[in-house]
Symmetry: C3
Subunit: 265 residues, 3 copies
Amino acid sequence: VPNSIITLTTDFGEESPYVAAMKGVILGINPAARILDLSHQIPPQDLRHAAFFLSNAIPWFPSEVIHVIVVDPGVGTERALLYVNVDGHQLLVPDNGCWTELACAVPDKRVVLRLANPTFWRHPVSATFHGRDILAPVAAHLSLGIEPGQLGPPVQDWVRLAISPPVCEGDVWSGEIVFIDHFGNLITNIPRDAFQKMASPKLLVKIGDEKVRPVWVRSYANVPAGTLIALISSSDTFEVAVSMGDAAARLGVRAGSGIRVVIEP
Amino acid sequence: VPNSIITLTTDFGEESPYVAAMKGVILGINPAARILDLSHQIPPQDLRHAAFFLSNAIPWFPSEVIHVIVVDPGVGTERALLYVNVDGHQLLVPDNGCWTELACAVPDKRVVLRLANPTFWRHPVSATFHGRDILAPVAAHLSLGIEPGQLGPPVQDWVRLAISPPVCEGDVWSGEIVFIDHFGNLITNIPRDAFQKMASPKLLVKIGDEKVRPVWVRSYANVPAGTLIALISSSDTFEVAVSMGDAAARLGVRAGSGIRVVIEP
Amino acid sequence: VPNSIITLTTDFGEESPYVAAMKGVILGINPAARILDLSHQIPPQDLRHAAFFLSNAIPWFPSEVIHVIVVDPGVGTERALLYVNVDGHQLLVPDNGCWTELACAVPDKRVVLRLANPTFWRHPVSATFHGRDILAPVAAHLSLGIEPGQLGPPVQDWVRLAISPPVCEGDVWSGEIVFIDHFGNLITNIPRDAFQKMASPKLLVKIGDEKVRPVWVRSYANVPAGTLIALISSSDTFEVAVSMGDAAARLGVRAGSGIRVVIEP
């Protein structure tokens, strides 16, 4: 439908004209498209950040929305560009693995095509900006109702990010800090189930070389400001934070760090 | 009406997926809603910044727009979430005082309800993200035309920010730097009336321990670049700035600092 | 038409309420307007940055879109505000030269008016925020269908940024780094034609006092991460970059720096 929603997620920042160029290209093809920014502050070329972002953003949207993702360190190489339909969510995205976590939950409800039909691209196609020259125009044409099948052939294989699932041995969980948010909260991949039976578990947490004993809470403000806390994140995983503070700065931690949690009920 | 405007103001930043999740939840309930970002760069948990922002943004909008505000240090505690109608502007906002300056001017045109009806929430409600699970879905349902009265009961009391009004003694005004903008301009709460009768007042300004004599101007470029100036802000209050420069950096000042102005006509 | 698109490009940042106030003013006049952010991260008062941004953003839009630009160091002085129609693109912009590069390509398809009719302004007009009080309301009225001729009289002269075109002497091009993007890529004004005949030119590049020999590539990922590279930018000019890195940081360069390129075929 002409007034379809097209969302944009990029690592372009906002001081550069790249996002604006993509918006112009979309509206040049479909002036009725409703463009919605998700983020242009994905850290440059950070596929893991993009993967976490998409996993925690896309599922909330109604199906049929078209999501354009341009975190594309491989632009201009032989890496493919993909049309992906996961459970009704439509993505246009470089084949670099940033979207594959989304598809784990619903392997049966997945269509993946390789963009190969230059009819729907802008020409000449630059070597460094396929967001503007391929993904944006394809999104606009999709919003006007072309059949996805016209974009290119199905593919059976694509790049996957190497992700280590969290491991549980007895009372010890080993996982990863998969994301640090704007507040400096440390979001891990250790599932909430690990803590579900405990009203108030005692925790010994090892991050890097540091061992800490965060206070288990329901939410940030249940303790005095500055307290190191542990809780269930809004993504339903284990989170370490500082009440009214910045845990990443306090503990000197970066995304991708390992974390070990010893749970003493 | 389905194509209602819903604005978003948060302290979430743009690298995190939280704003995107809220947009997805809104569109999942009302796909025709027109979502408009006001800011996601309110400094984390900074209620005074949020209060200034809202006082200088909301009144410009037409009434009937729905404004969602998520600066919410108390999420997951017993703090209430509110529906507020001030002079026709509809706000969905935590009960932390960030909106109350808006209501001072029009005490008679005010409705305040406590969100208490879980029918309009997303379930399960997380302990740390009521923006996504309560405020966003309530906004979407409001945009579809539900009666505000369905959201919860009226309340007569709510949190207010402690704000010290500026004080005038003879030719001396004492007030506060209530906001430092993106340019480093110092916006105070001293009213323009204090200067209204003077074409070109002489000023002695004390900020912290520093005494300065800014040049009184109409606007920034009326003097050489680098000049310390004083003028009436676009919020109709006293402002200290540096022409083509950053007064906050020059004077080492932060929002919340006291300011004293001696006016020599 | 009521649901016209109005884009906003400013140097206001997003922590201040200035952009939100402009959005409110526009919607107060035309509630159906479709507001689209291009950027609010133009560096403060940086007209050259704004000029590059506009030249690389506006041409991608369909004509009839209304673009409001507020990078306005001269606000409150006698500088004019302009309505510009360049090849169908409509701009509302201070007369400071930030838009004039756009007009070079199409001198015949240009209308420039001086905003002089206060009927379409918000009153009282502040001395420091003409974006809110003049440009935003004029954009909203335009979107409702008023004739541009009602805004003010045509003008034949306007401010132009002093721009030195690149110079070629034999195999040596001298130009300027006109823009540094979010990734730290150095975009110059040396045209792609200079390199067109060479499949793989050898380059000696002098930036400031530093001489470097970047590897000529088609795109960023065609060489190992960290390699200093040269390529054709998505603006069709010569670009210096670091594969998966930040060339501006590596070379200590700022926008406006001169660059010399010796091409050895």
